[in-house]
Subunit: 151 residues, 2 copies
DNA sequence: TAGACGTAGTTGACACTTCACCCAATGTCC
DNA sequence: GGACATTGGGTGAAGTGTCAACTACGTCTA
């Protein structure tokens, strides 16, 4: 059996740990300063990316890589807090839309600047452009391989 | 307000998404093929790293970067499944040890080879040694900065 | 040595995720 | 146009994580 070499371990562990740490910090920051969970924020950002501020459940689920059940539960909770509303789909009676509300829009707009600033402060500012390029390429390549595997 | 440049976005999004995807795949693999959750696996691996197969709750929590409460709940559940036992600490009556059982040992040993193989197949095989080095260095540097910030 | 403060771990309530299953609408193939 | 699989989404229960409060022990200091 082929175990990991020290360099492989170092890179793999570093990668995993870095994400845990950064994710934790950024998440707590969103929560405490803007009263929005990372999951809420992700949903809201994706909704504001569309011109109408609305998206099909499934498209949203694919974009966020969530299971449909998680999407359903989470949107129900967000709807309860007034950040989004559910809307039936006329073309396909099975389907439904998630639509961002004014409350939701206000929440993203309040949270986004601080979040971006934190990403910069905690991550981007400590990484060179060359490293960033390597990271981007590597990520895209590996994600591409993961996608191939499924098919 | 300074938004992210396209290259910054590409790297940041890629990084986050890569971790989500890889984590998801590896986690589901552990769960389905070895009947061990990623969290269980992490605990068991850390325990087998020590000669006695035992560690203080707090040390384990620090190593895994879990909150003490999560550790307490999770160990209770794992104990319920017979993978570990709780043991009182004689030197410090407040403290306690987590000790791996034979069942736990068998579980890691069954799961580890397949897991390592998957990390290789899904990640390491698609990344050059040079990229790996960049990733390791970058990760360690940024984690170091995160640690400084706290102090 | 009494009080104050810190540390190790626990607990319960609540929020979130997953799993397994349900249902209705749609597609497709004969 | 009827059988059958597929798709889009919902649901309840069980598993998991977080937060705040709590117990009990240890340590420091006046």
């Amino acid at each position: 059996m082929r175990w990991l070499t020290p360099e492989e371990q170092r890179a793999w562990r570093g990668f995993v740990r870095l994400h845990e740490r950064l994710g934790g910090r950024l998440g707590r920051l969103l929560q405490s300063e803007s009263n929005v969970s990372p999951a809420d924020f992700a949903v809201l950002v994706h909704l504001t990316d569309t011109p109408e501020g609305r998206q099909r459940y499934q498209d949203l689920a694919r974009a966020l890589e969530w299971e449909k059940s998680r999407m359903s539960h989470h949107i129900a909770r967000m709807a309860g807090r007034g950040m989004v509303v559910r809307e039936d789909c006329l073309e396909d009676a099975r389907g439904a839309f998630v639509v961002i509300t004014d409350v939701g829009r206000a929440a993203v707009e309040a949270a986004a600047p601080r979040h971006v600033e934190a990403v910069r402060e905690l991550f981007l500012d400590h990484v060179t452009p060359a490293e960033l390029r390597v990271l981007a390429e590597l990520s895209e390549r590996v994600i591409g391989k993961l996608d191939e595997d499924v098919s």
